[in-house]
């Protein structure tokens, strides 16, 4: 049960139809799965009935960033060794988690970020319009955080204890995807990127963020930088 000290944090808002399929391979691999039901109204919580996981419930919908932070706080209080951020919609691959954890286990990094742009075959899986948008996000992120990443706003990340103790998310919504690199830079954490492939299914494309949401994220970031 070596993997039990690795906490997989999954924020879920109305993911009833897919959450079980996302969680099952993680349980099979022996990880501690922490699902944060972010005020779902479609029976996401019930869809998880009977599974040997940790369930947290937000009484009101707060956003993916806030839900992730709640799951990470649970991991902090329960003595986790590693924390992995994982999307609920099944776009990430449980089999890639060991590769994400490797740099942490070797003590080379505090934070490991998945990247869809390190291998050509991963890159090709990203829809062209999304690729263009992400390019812009990468540039913005590099400009505002001075972190030369190859990808931005991927929900697949891994943290050592030092990493997840230090990074505390304040962005409630999806802007946390930009907040994390900024925090890594501010806190001078050691980070690496690891190639990760993402499955863009019809479901994830429909359920996931619209590209237009980038405008919201940008406004969130600018506004909050002013009011922090």
């Amino acid at each position: 049960m070596d993997n039990a000290s690795t906490y997989i944090v999954i924020p879920a808002h109305n993911e009833a139809s897919v959450i079980r399929a996302t969680v099952e391979p993680l349980i099979a691999a022996g990880y501690t799965v922490v699902v944060v039901d972010d005020g779902s109204t479609d029976g996401t919580a019930e869809a998880l009935d009977g599974l040997p996981i940790v369930r947290l419930h937000h009484a009101v919908n707060l956003g993916a960033g806030a839900a992730t932070e709640t799951g990470v706080e649970y991991a902090r209080r329960n003595g986790a060794e590693f924390v992995v951020h994982f999307d609920a919609d099944g776009q990430h691959d449980a089999q890639q988690i060991p590769a994400m954890l490797a740099p942490l286990r070797e003590g080379r990094a505090d934070v490991v970020l998945g990247s869809r742009f390190m291998r050509e075959e991963d890159r090709r899986k990203v829809p062209p319009a999304r690729r263009l948008l992400l390019r812009a996000a990468v540039l913005f992120s590099a400009f505002s955080t001075r972190l030369p990443l190859t990808d931005a706003h991927i929900g697949f990340r891994a943290f050592s204890r030092r990493g997840f103790e230090a990074v505390r998310l304040r962005e409630p919504g999806f802007a946390h995807g930009s907040e994390i690199p900024a925090e890594i830079h501010r806190l001078k954490l050691r980070w690496v990127e690891v190639p990760a492939s993402v499955r863009y299914t019809d479901y994830s494309r429909q359920k996931g963020q619209s590209g237009w949401n980038a405008i919201n994220i940008l406004i969130d970031l600018v506004v909050r930088r002013v009011f922090r």
């Binding site: 599974l51 040997p52 940790v54 947290l56 706080e73 304040r170």
Partner: protein, 112 residues
């Protein structure tokens, strides 16, 4: 005295009364509001005064001076309110998070 003056003063006093009675704010804030209201009543009673001040700073009409001062003032108030909303939002997040953590269901081990 024109009919508009008592009307405006009545509105100002009603606002002041509501503020003082309904909200328990800091003494400092109450004093600021009181001073502003007193000044407003003063300017309503003697409109020529605003004209005189306006001329001194190179604005032709007193009403324009009030307008120019009011605009940044209102914007500043909106900013304050927005900061308050964000602060409130962080409080709701902390509260919801704490409730979630306290009511966590750990199904990994058999419950006793």
């Amino acid at each position: 005295m024109i009919a508009f003056q008592p009307l405006l003063i009545l509105v100002l006093l009603a606002l002041l009364g509501t503020y003082m009675l309904r909200f328990r704010s800091l003494l400092r804030n109450r004093l600021i509001v009181l001073v502003f209201c007193a000044a407003s009543v003063f300017f309503v009673l003697d409109p020529e005064l605003t004209n005189t001040i306006a001329h001194k700073v190179g604005i032709s009409r007193g009403a324009d001076l009030i307008f120019y001062l009011a605009l940044p003032g209102l914007l500043f108030m909106i900013l304050l309110l927005y900061a308050k909303v964000i602060e409130q939002e962080q409080k709701i997040i902390r509260l919801t998070r704490e409730v979630a953590l306290q009511t966590a269901v750990d199904a990994r081990r058999p419950r006793t």
